[in-house]
Symmetry: D2
Subunit: 430 residues, 4 copies
């Protein structure tokens, strides 16, 4: 191990994780490329777990950012007004919200995904006077106690050290394979007043579950969920932290379903450049916070306002969405081909947009693919409760060449994993 | 109202707060100075609520930061290894920890104060197998559910929408005036096994309570608290998010007390430049996290690593601490003089270091002082459950001239508040 | 209203309920008969909601009880040893447990159903070190906070005034009509470690849900539930408070399913004569209570020990079970006939043993039947979250004549309800 | 060990407790006397932990009870109206409540102390819309989860297996020795809105803490507590389960303090004869229960109604209270003499009325006294978190002869304990 990794091992907490899977010291990055201290070049199909949808150090944002800093623009402002903040709000409204017919108030809850989720749950409980939140199996919403209570992962839940409460978990779309009506249970629990489940303040869900295994809910499921919420006066919260900001092909991941959430949680790529930022979009009639009732030191991260405002210009061009969709189609075709070509991995296709992957029923297979990919200098993560999915998260503005290069490495890695795990023979003999 | 403030009113959530007290659109800042869009210059005695201890846009850090960005340094890395992170860890260890004889593991829990507090509570519960945390009256630790449960403020607690649990509040130093032994209660609760209070996993406290009213615990109180914790096997957590990083005159606020916390929470000024960053320092024997048991998208904010590493160089010069202390003495003398000169405000001195203020027993007085100060272009906050304290938070590297200019405005504002509230007459007639 | 009912209205809390449905002042009772102050005779198909399975004032027990009192036998003993207690334990073991091959320790948790449930949940949590309990939709387990948290009824849950926690509700058999595998959900939740549901300490269920609507679980459902519990190390608690002590035809209601619960809760008819008593049967290896870790003033109700010991003699005769079964068959046939004969009531058969009823899809119908029955001097209760079931709970030792007399009144009442609600015409016109 | 005790050891749960301290099989009892199976006679200074204030099998009640049973009076009625219940309510009102100017509704919450406490907490939370209850150090209120959450004893709290929540513990009178104003803390917590303690729904307390160590609150403390509750709109609940029904010299233990609780919990001796019964007295304006919102199978224990109604006749004679007081004075004098005569036991006087004892600072001393007393055939319990108190609980209608006989045994036992623990020598040598 080199000195720098040694130093990390000695000084950093044992909680560190990705440095274990990707043991290199990175120094530079641009677009979908990233380099380590020895000058090795990697393709990044990880994209900061969805925080780098526009790739690393996007040139337009970079220029704006450097100018802002050189000009002594405000860096930190709590929630005082700054030029940068005003421009962010204005562009968010003009470029993103208005054209989509969306009327929301923007809350700055602190600059991370878990901050926006916590703020969403608070306002939902406050506005309804109810305490329970319904979340879904394999949902992932954050690590602070409020968000962790709506997160499914058992290892992370145990990390709380206390029982997590005021939440009820319902089955996500396709959670039970034999079930042809996955929301029937939720409805039955609501309508039978002996069910033990009270009408909740809100439901919170991801349209595609990133950490939970790249599970994509169908449009019908989302529409039916919205309908149930309307019937029962339940608030609908979409956590679009990972699936939002273009990751699935549209700015908001729920657009194709035509639903209208009461509250939307955004973070990760909302800042554009990988800088910490989060916002909570709240329907005006629900925005009844008292001043300062929720706050946070870094809720006004002005550098992120600057890059975010610039990032919105991508969305002025209607071709942008189409280009993502084209690349998504390419990925879908590639993964489908792989599943067919390598039946040994017992794979199934997961996700949508540029948030796709393969779930393998062979234990350890997906992790092995990711390992081989890293040997070939492609960075790619696994997901799901048993790490059963390897997931492709290229920047959404990646060029065709970069995308193809990544896919080539992935095919090679699948092939090697099949071999190194001796799956071929096994299949033959069975 | 100007157009930009109008836009904020229309688009931003009603939860916004400081923009209400300081209705101006800020554009630039340097050191202790900040300018609005009309070019008006303000003195900043707020310092980002402790996030800007080195002032705005400190030139040395600014240079490093711009160079890093121009050079396409890694911006976002989750917890992969980067050059910037390694340098941060190395300097933190060499300049800050080692010289103070401190051996801690560094955890990156997500880049805000509430993230570090949540991580501290989790590891304390995990390591002890106990659920309760003891916090203290008027403590402030954050807005996510875990941190909010150890925060005293009733308005913010109600914002949770659910009962907050697994915590017990004990009286902070001087909470009960007549009490000459403020930790006796805590001890009695521990030693009587019919007390209804179980031995907690940890206590968490601030050495000086920033939001709670600039209440400074005495050195004896802290030492006795540490002793009680040792006797009962309770972990000692210092939340040094606001009082740390030089605010009270030493890097860690607890240094003069000679105590050795098991866990230390740092954020706000740890990044140096006002960029989101937080770390949790954990004694090595307690650092038993599983990989990824707590995580967060922005735990590797490399720009903040760059500025933080640079900020540590301040602490290489032993004169730095002394200079803070000198300025603190000046503030103490100034405020003492004010209390004597304006008995009408019924003031008492609060805090220590460059974290001082006056608590006034006259309802509304402190807010009035802050209002007048803003008219004279000095930015200063109030604190305490009834906003009874006006607090002075200049940058710790402010020069004598800036400090004096600020104090002059404050005296003028006190004088005006006494007049505008007719306190003079009132005092005469009583 | 007569004077005595007036006095009750003035002095008793508004929480009173049955006195509203059955507005008479009762004075005497014997077997299945009960008389009011005016000498009117009623047939009791309510049987103290299962607390009077042997009828009122059963002569054999009455004699033993009076002799005991006249002889100055110990009335109240906490958990000191008494002759009466020893005899109770001995007969319970010799007549009930041993012949069924059951080896359990007997706990006296306080003399009510909710006491035994609370004690069962405590020992399950203590022995497993887990906090969650899985209960089932429409389960009813008691009114104290621990038991209420596993009870489904929403009105009663709201009565807690606090959120109820540390429990998860799963669908009971037939809760979702279209579902042909009602335990699949529970299994999926257990096996997917991203489900948000932790492996619980225990499941608690009733084999036939009395208050919840006379829902009878199938034998297969119970067997499969036991299997799941064994696989996952989950304790199996049967709450046999209402369905036990012969109500379904065997002493324990789960006997036909062949399952072996880890903990069994008994109350209501366990005392034989309607006197407060409850016991918790615990497998010896789980009986790791510390002395006094759970206690209660009336856990040694010796008069109930005396009558209970006598009541066990019923079970020495193998004909007793058969006689209950015969009467149950008669009730089944009668109710089936009614459903066929009066299609207007849209009825379906519920329950088993002498715990049967009809669930009517016509709103208010079942309550109307019970009202008419009371006019004809038969006492009968409704059940279910919407009072949609009228339920027949005759004493299990009722004679044929009494049973027939009761059924005759019920038919008459159904007929009248159909008429008074104009269901006949409605059916015709539809 | 004899056969019967052997059988208990084999069949009864390990949770059994008193049978361990008093290893005899009891068969008969009358007044203050109790006999074991070998005909040995014991003096009972335990009185069913306060459930047998009128002694065992009081002849007047016994006669009424036997007549009622022989006459086939209703035994079990849920909450239907019965003659026995009407008479109970009428006499309670006429003999006990009205003469004391008390206007309360009577709730039957189930027949044990913990049932009445749970019902009191529910209605308090429901009526105030608040969740927290304030209880006091060393309070004891019951074993079900709601009551356990307001109980101080740590061993019993741990038995819950879950964290207990929605409660805050405040220091009882004299909890902190040096404190001359024990309610100042509570007031400070209420008035400082940064205290972390919300205004609670209610406070619940015992005027004399029975299990907690025979701690008697001063009249001033109770009056001040009532005043605080009125100022803050907090409901005042007195748990008079153990101290009520004459135990301290008046029917309600709080009478001498002149306070007017909003809710009063009664059980133990309210039934008169040692039969399970509990009632909750609720101010009419707070009695807003929905029908059946709280219920319980044995809430109508008619045999206990019969004996209770008879027991109230004791209170028709004004001499009764005086006779208790006379005996209490005798006990006070006796215990004071003992403390003086045997300084080796480092004793202090505890309690009031016929609920007194000595707290010894010598570890194990009080248990030793109780052991010796049992050898001399007097039954007496210890109390307090460390069993540091031996407590005298004779029946309140005991005659002078019986009382003296008991005191003689106690003196002998103290003397023997001093000797057997070698305290005399120790004292000499020190």
């Amino acid at each position: 191990m080199n000195n720098k990794l040694q130093l990390i091992e000695e000084l950093e907490s044992s909680v560190r994780s990705y440095v274990r899977s990707f043991p290199a010291v990175f120094t530079k990055a641009r677009g979908y490329k990233i380099w380590d201290e020895d000058g090795n070049e990697y393709i990044d199909f990880f994209a900061g777990a969805g925080a780098l949808n526009y790739g690393h150090n996007e040139p337009g944002m970079k220029k704006k950012l450097v100018d802002y800093i050189l000009d002594d623009g405000i860096t930190h402002s709590l929630d005082k007004a700054t030029d940068a903040k005003v421009e962010f709000l204005d562009k968010l409204n003009e470029i993103i919200l208005k054209p989509r017919g969306m009327d929301y108030r923007v809350m700055f809850p602190g600059p991370t995904g878990t901050n926006t989720v916590e703020s969403a749950l608070k306002i939902a409980r406050k506005m309804t006077g109810r305490t329970d939140i319904v979340s879904f199996t394999n949902g992932f919403h954050g690590m602070t106690i409020g968000s962790l209570a709506v997160t499914g992962n058992s290892m992370k839940r145990k990390g709380a050290g206390i029982p997590l409460s005021h939440t009820v978990t319902m089955p996500y779309d396709n959670f039970v394979e034999s079930d042809n009506d996955p929301l029937e249970y939720f409805e039955r629990f609501l309508e039978d007043n002996g069910s033990g489940v009270a009408v909740p303040a809100a439901v919170i869900f991801e349209t595609v579950q990133g950490e939970g295994g790249i599970n994509a809910a169908s449009m019908e499921w989302m529409q039916r969920l919205e309908k149930i919420c309307r019937e029962w006066g339940i608030l609908l919260i979409v956590d679009d932290v990972q699936a939002g900001v273009g990751r699935t092909g549209t700015f908001f991941s729920f657009e194709p379903a035509g639903i209208k959430p009461d509250i939307i949680c955004l973070s990760k790529s909302i800042g554009g450049y990988g800088l910490p930022l989060a916002i909570t979009l709240i329907k005006p009639e629900l925005d009844k916070w008292k001043p300062g009732e929720h706050n946070g030191t870094f809720r006004g991260n002005n550098m992120a306002f600057v890059t975010a405002a610039e990032s919105f210009t991508y969305w002025e061009d209607p071709q942008f969405e189409k280009s993502i969709q084209r690349k998504a189609d390419k990925v879908t075709k590639f993964l489908s081909d792989m599943i067919e070509k390598y039946p040994e991995m017992k794979g199934s296709l997961k996700g949508r947009g540029l948030m796709q992957g393969i779930s393998s029923d062979v234990e350890g297979f997906s992790e092995k693919v990711a390992e081989h990919a890293f040997e070939h200098r492609l960075i790619m993560e696994t997901a799901g409760g048993h790490d059963q999915v390897f997931k492709l998260f290229p920047p959404i503005n990646i060029d065709e060449e970069g995308l193809q290069a990544g896919l080539d490495i992935i095919e090679k890695s699948i092939q090697e994993a099949v071999e190194s795990m001796n799956l071929k023979e096994e299949t033959v003999t069975n």
